[in-house]
Subunit: 202 residues, 2 copies
């Protein structure tokens, strides 16, 4: 005998497929929505339906944008510096960098990182369009902000090789201790990087 | 300038309204769905839409059931013991008890617990229908399985007072150390309860 009515079990299953949502959280979310005002689940359903139909990718930087727009808001803006481009793995990374307020250039979203184990090669990423953008000549500095992981480092290295023919400055985000972090909890690699990248006290 | 297209921000906002989902998880879920196959968000949206329209509450025990059914599957089952009724706060508690496989009676879902602070009184809970069920005479034991919290205890006490006129056995779930737990991490109240409720070693 199934304990739960089918629609309830279906919603629990759908929630469980999301990353970071286990069976217990999935039931808790479902039973919350059962007791919440009806528009709580309707709002979520509408937002989900609107997502895929109204979203497209910018033709220049491959960040997300409204369907129908050729370029994203950052690429369309006249206030941003076209000569600096920050290369990131995911649209979520653009969001993180924008929140800092410390970057006023353009972006290039690769949509992943090289990963032989997962079968992700250069052609699965937006690397060729990046090379074309650099070939255009307007870019002076490329900040390769792929993740500080094996895959992110491999991707940065591959991009460096592809861009050898061009006179563009290539930089990578600094590695070191996270601000507010505790030295004793830092892992060995982070500490080594923090030592190697030490700066003058001024 | 808004950083995110409106539909993306809407979905992040809708996720953030769920319990236990913060701003970071909400963006992670949204960007996961952006990259996931289209049917992932469609499945979730459909399950959400089906939830409210196809769910009703059992007229006897107030557990959830399919719309159109008068009674839930447990109340309709002929294999379950009608003389034992377990009183719980939420439908989710029924699920937890059913998963143990250790209870073969019926349930009564109160839909909350008494809480003067939140303004929840006896009339906001399904206590009157419970008294009516007991008055019916078929129930021999009532296991009051409200949460082991201030509110759950107050609710249990209130139910006890309401059922004084009836000769029904009232029990409460045992308090003590959780199985697999560590004695040194148990809080003072739990330890006191575990001491008071100690049992013969056999």
């Amino acid at each position: 005998m199934p304990i739960l009515p089918e629609p309830v079990q279906n919603l629990i299953n759908a929630f469980e497929r999301l990353p970071g949502v286990g069976p217990k959280s999935a039931s808790r979310l479902t039973f919350f929505l059962l007791r919440a005002p009806e528009d709580a689940s309707k709002n979520l359903a509408d937002a989900l339906n609107a997502l895929q139909s109204s979203i497209a990718f910018c033709e220049r930087c491959f960040n997300i944008t409204m369907a129908g727009n050729q370029f994203c808001e950052i690429c369309s803006s006249e206030e941003r510096d076209e000569s600096q481009v920050c290369v990131v793995e995911e649209p979520l990374d653009v969001l993180a960098l924008e929140r800092t307020g410390g970057f006023n250039g353009h972006y290039h979203v690769l949509h992943g990182a090289l990963s032989p184990i997962e079968g992700i090669g250069p052609d699965d990423l937006k690397i060729k369009p990046l090379v074309e953008r650099v070939r255009g000549g307007a870019i002076k500095e490329l900040i390769v902000a792929t993740n500080p992981s094996m895959e992110g480092d491999a991707t940065a290295l591959y991009i460096k090789q592809q861009l050898k023919p061009f006179s563009v400055r290539l930089t990578r985000l600094a590695r070191g201790l996270p601000v507010g972090g505790d030295l004793e909890y830092a892992d060995q690699n982070t500490l080594l990087r923090a030592l190697a990248g030490r700066q003058e006290l001024d």
